[in-house]
């Protein structure tokens, strides 16, 4: 039987993988990929708590996830636009080299 514990472990693993990507990768796009993975892991958590929680009829987890997906879509679009803008400025997608605030 699959229980809440399994889902929580899975989402913890996924979240950590995403965090690892954010913290250790040089390429800005992979950093964004890591953020997406983290957001999805959080969504999984929300849905799992809703499914195993006592109030199935309230849909709170579902709606929260829905909003979080919308926010994530906005975040991805702005994030990628920033990656492009930053690339145009620094001529590199490497986050290590984006270390100045001026020219």
């Amino acid at each position: 039987m699959v229980t809440l514990q399994h889902y929580l472990i899975l989402s913890a693993v996924l979240f950590s993988i995403g965090l690892l990507g954010v913290l250790t990768r040089r390429h800005a796009v992979i950093v964004l990929i890591g953020i997406e993975i983290m957001l999805n892991a959080a969504n999984l958590n929300l849905i799992a708590f809703w499914r195993f929680g006592p109030h199935l009829e309230n849909f709170e987890g579902l709606l929260f996830t829905l909003f979080s997906i919308a926010v994530a879509a906005a975040e991805a679009s702005v994030g990628l636009a920033l990656v492009i803008a930053v690339y145009r400025h620094f001529k590199t997608p490497d986050v290590e080299k984006m270390n100045t605030l001026r020219e």
Partner: protein
């Protein structure tokens, strides 16, 4: 029409101008005629509906009907959109659409040569929609939204000729100044929602303005001024009205707003929008009544504004600016009326003022139009000969404004003065003095503009019929409206349960005396002989300091520059100083460390060559610097790792707290 519930009609009234503003914005008609036709069409439908609603309301004077639908749910509290029919909204609807229609008609000719005519009518329609929505709204939130739409339209229209720097600055000034009042209004709104639990005015006995809820609000003590919550909310609402209606000390934007096209001045900054503040107070009057102290504040602010603006108007030379100060003064009069006499007196003066002030502005526009854009009264003159029809209309407007017997202003101002006499003699004195000023500056203006010869080289000519026709219609109203409305019992209609204060011949005599006295004084000072070009003003000759004080509008703008502007500047300067100081400190630290290490290095070089102290000290200093720069290295992921560290620390703390129990 009879089978449609009137509430739907009322809700539809603002939609027509709104739709037309959208259509004009989308179609962008290149010909001004098409845009003016569309705008007139939209407002015309609204006018017909409004008159129908007014008829319904007049047939059944006590009629109050509301209707709406829930918009959003905030926790347990619904926020509704709702509209209302009652005498207040019905009379305002009819006034706004009627005057608006005439002014739209007038603008069609006045603005015909402007290349941006379509934009003008789009804004104007938007304004009409906002104003009508404001009038019919039964919810403080909807009212606030329309209030802001109206403010936006006013901003856009003042800055309509945005190429002129003065117009752009005036638009900004109007927007920002009214925003101060709006902030207070918004706080009041939130407070009303918090303590009142609803934003609807009337809702089956549970509305904000209905006796039960008012008594409840009046029973809660507020943490400020020793007022009740009802008092504080009404004070905040009044602050909003002060901003919108140009009351002292937020009146500074209104005279500057005359930079907009003249029809805009007539419609927005004389007849309707600036009256919105007065209307708001009249609408929320039950809250004001709950705490009498607030009404006293309203009366005094109104009375002071009336006198102050009237005095300032005496020393202005711009045709429209004099009228603008006159508007401020009359708005103060309305507030005074609300403060001492109740809804009936204030609203009656609002309605009659709307007619004659719109008339005066439109006639002024006609004069300016005929004199090729000349606005300085010292350079105008002899208009009576070249523009006879406009002159007659202007005289009608002046007749009403000066409250001469049987004009519109006579009846409404008389009510206010009578109420003031009975309730608050101090304010009565202010009001009477303001009335004197009114007659005086109007006479001064007439003496400059109409008799004699032209003082400049322009050749004035009478305006076309599309401009003069609205003037004639409005003249009839300016002359007859007050008397007829009083005769038919407008006060009882506007304020059910109104009982007229005891009639006093003394008050009547005083009112007549100040009106005639002002005219007489004006005639003695200015009217006895022709005023030649370039001669200094008679008042300026006899009372130079007073004149200078008034000419510069009591230095209010300079005062604001010196206080608010100065404070802002000081804050900015302080920030610069702080920045420099910080820089100096850091520079000094770095330099001293550098110097210290250098001296030490030299010293050790000489004395303790190749000793551990030399290398060690340098390395320690470098290391410390290195460590501190490492924290600010611009490495994104470095920061992220620190954030992670923080998150881990928080997690551990949480776990520790949980384990502790």
């Amino acid at each position: 029409m009879p089978d449609i519930h009137p509430i739907y009609l009322v809700a539809a009234i603002p939609l027509f101008p709104l739709a037309m503003s959208l259509v004009i914005a989308l179609l962008k008609p290149t010909r001004g005629r098409a845009a003016s036709f569309l705008a007139l069409l939209g407002l015309g439908v609204s006018l017909v509906l409004s008159l129908y609603v007014l008829k319904l309301s007049l047939q059944e004077p006590g009629l109050v009907q509301t209707g709406g639908f829930p918009w959003i749910q905030l926790g347990p509290l619904p926020v509704d959109f709702s509209v209302i029919i009652d005498p207040l909204s019905a009379s305002m609807l009819a006034m706004v659409t009627f005057i608006g229609f005439l002014i739209f008609f007038y603008s069609g000719s006045y603005m015909a040569d402007d290349p941006d005519c379509a934009r003008f009518f789009g804004y104007l329609s938007l304004f009409a929609a906002g104003m009508l929505g404001l009038v019919i709204s039964n919810s403080l939130l909807l009212l606030f939204m329309c209030w802001e739409i109206v403010g936006l339209a006013s901003y856009l229209l003042i800055g309509f000729w945005y190429q002129k720097p003065a117009a752009a600055a005036a638009a900004k000034k109007a927007f920002i100044t009214t925003r101060i009042g709006d902030l207070f209004l918004f706080i009041g709104l939130l407070w009303a929602f918090k303590d009142g639990g609803t934003l609807l005015f009337y809702y089956h006995g549970n509305g904000l303005l209905e006796p039960g809820r008012v008594a409840w609000l009046a029973g809660i003590p507020a943490p400020v001024f020793g007022l009740s919550v009802a008092g504080v909310i009404s004070l905040l609402i009044f602050a909003g009205a002060v901003g919108k209606s140009g009351q002292f000390p937020l009146h500074v934007w209104l005279p500057d707003a005359m930079e907009g096209p003249t029809p805009v001045s007539a419609l927005i900054h004389a007849a309707t929008m600036v009256a919105a503040g007065v209307f708001l107070v009249a609408r929320t009057y039950p809250l004001f009544v709950a705490d009498p102290a607030v009404l006293t504040v309203v009366a005094w602010v109104g009375g002071f504004t009336a006198l102050f603006a009237g005095l300032v108007a005496v020393a202005q030379n711009d045709l429209k600016r004099i009228l603008a100060y006159s508007t401020v003064s009359q708005l103060g009069m309305m507030m005074l009326g609300l403060g001492v006499g109740g809804v009936g007196a204030g609203m009656f003066h609002l309605l009659s003022h709307a007619f004659f002030k719109a008339l005066l502005f439109l006639a002024a526009g006609s004069i300016i139009h005929g004199c090729h854009g000349e606005q300085d009264i010292r350079k105008l003159g002899g208009v009576a000969r070249s523009m006879p029809l406009t002159t007659v209309c202007y005289l009608c407007g002046t007749f009403a404004l000066c409250a001469l017997p049987f004009g519109s202003g006579y009846f409404s101002k008389d009510e206010i003065l009578l109420a003031a006499w009975h309730n608050n003699p101090g304010v009565f004195v202010l009001g009477a003095a303001a009335a004197f000023c009114t007659s005086f500056y109007m006479t001064r203006q007439l003496c400059y503009v109409f008799p004699g010869n032209h003082r400049s080289h322009a050749h004035p000519h009478e305006s076309p019929w599309r401009i003069t026709a609205p003037l004639v219609v409005l003249s009839l109203f300016a002359l007859a409206f007050g008397g007829l409305a009083r005769h038919w019992g407008i006060l009882e209609y506007l304020e059910p349960g109104f009982h007229a204060p005891e009639h006093s011949s003394l008050v009547m005599a005083v009112g007549l005396a100040v009106a005639l006295g002002g005219i007489l004084a004006g005639w003695l000072v200015y009217g006895r002989r022709a005023l030649p070009v370039g001669e200094p003003d008679a008042v300026a000759v006899t009372l130079p300091p007073v004149y200078r004080f008034l000419e510069n509008r009591a230095w209010m703008d300079e005062l604001y520059m010196a206080t608010v502007g100065r404070i802002w500047g000081a804050l900015a300067a302080l920030a610069v100083v702080a920045d420099l100081a910080l820089n100096a400190v850091t520079d000094w630290t770095v330099l001293s460390i550098q110097n210290l290490s250098r001296t030490l290095a030299i010293y050790s070089d000489r004395v303790l060559i190749d000793q551990w102290g030399f290398d060690g000290l340098c390395r320690a200093v470098r290391g410390a610097g290195f460590l501190s720069t490492r924290a600010q290295n611009g490495q994104l992921q470095g920061y992220l790792r620190f954030i992670t560290l923080g998150a881990v620390a928080l997690g551990l703390l949480l776990g520790w707290a949980l384990l502790r129990g």
